[in-house]
Subunit: 204 residues, 2 copies
DNA sequence: GCCGCTATATAAACTGTTATATATTGGTGT
DNA sequence: ACACCAATATATAACAGTTTATATAGCGGC
């Protein structure tokens, strides 16, 4: 489980409660990893039992106490050990590829439609990375001296996410071109490609 | 779960036992999906209960009977329905990115070493795709008339897997260049690249 | 005779997602 | 003023999905 190690990485930054950890996830790592609170809480507990983090409880009236977790020296050591590990790289594991792989079993038109939608989704996510996420990192670096060094690494991971999206989009385009040659009358699946008949903008 | 649908896709090809399904997985879809036998058997059972596949038992002496599963019309319909679905595209979910993201917390040299190893692993997998997998598809298309159409789609998925690997490799190279500027004395991490290093562009 | 392969599975453990529960603060609507 | 909902903050339960380990049983090779 790398969630353990992702949490050690986050807590290496500063001590946090489970809730804060989740927010950190959502605002920063979300483009290549994510976790739900229901997974974060027990994992923090496990990390504490293993001695990698220390809990200190902040008493609060009228609401549950804040349990703030802080990384220990053992935790830092474990994180560094894990970074040096070399497991086989993560594969793709993409259900969409399953659809394409068995493409002979569905009408070509259907495949062209889902290919186009898939491409559009990736384009949206790419645009989000290019604007919102990029800006978030730049602002963080400009305003907080302490983040200047971190920002370099954050940008690198964002670069990878964007490369992945661009490769995916290019592949969708190429695949659509390829498949359109197999079905000459595929106009329904490419609205806008041939600007003359808007009647068939089958977006339903 | 897309395993269900991957199995429907496979059985759409021809009837198979669980064991054969696993072999199909290993020899064809493995570059973007995989499943263990312990997952395949109960999933086939579930598919049968749902009426998407039909089981017929081949009796065998001295060993467990072969249970051959065949897709039904309902199964084919379900597969086509699933293909038309448009779920949000799969994200990266790559533990290696976690290592880079928290790069400030480990020595730069360590990061350069794992980056290089990661790149090499991807290069190996890319080479495997370029040679073995590509050839396997080409041969299948040449020898079996029935696979000519399938081969087109199989090639497309292989193209995507290769694009992904190439993007990853390029990103590793770029990242290493970037990080080497931050640590002038990183010769240990790039065996063979040295030979010429003028005064250092030390950024410390 | 042990090892690995074919062929079938089950059990246990681990990882991850969705739904639900509690209790307070603060804002929007009416 | 009061009703309602979202957000903050903490979790647990139930379910879904995946991996690893184990069990059985014959057959073929070293």
């Amino acid at each position: 489980m790398s969630l353990k190690h992702a949490l050690l990485g986050i807590l290496g930054h500063r001590p946090m409660s489970g809730y804060e950890v989740k927010q950190f996830f959502d605002s920063s790592v979300q483009h290549f990893w994510n976790a739900e609170l229901s997974q974060i809480y027990p994992t923090l507990k496990g990390l504490e039992e293993a001695g990698f983090v220390a809990k200190h409880v902040e008493f609060q009236e009228n609401r549950p106490n804040r349990k703030v977790y802080e990384i220990t020296d053992a935790g830092r050591a474990e994180f560094r050990r894990w970074v040096r590990e070399t497991p086989p790289p993560a594969g793709l594991r993409d259900p969409f590829m399953v659809k394409v792989f068995f493409g002979t079993q569905v009408p070509l038109e259907d495949l062209l439609i889902v290919l186009r939608r898939q491409m559009e989704e990736h384009q949206k996510l790419l645009a989000f990375s290019e604007t919102v996420l990029r800006a978030r990192i730049r602002e963080g670096m400009e305003h907080h001296e302490a983040l200047r060094r971190d920002g370099v690494f954050w940008s690198l991971t964002l670069d990878m996410a964007m490369s992945y999206r661009r490769a995916y989009i290019a592949w969708c385009e190429e695949s659509m071109r390829m498949l359109e040659q197999m079905v000459p009358d595929a106009a329904a699946a490419r609205p806008g490609t041939d600007a003359d008949h808007p009647a068939s903008a089958a977006t339903a």
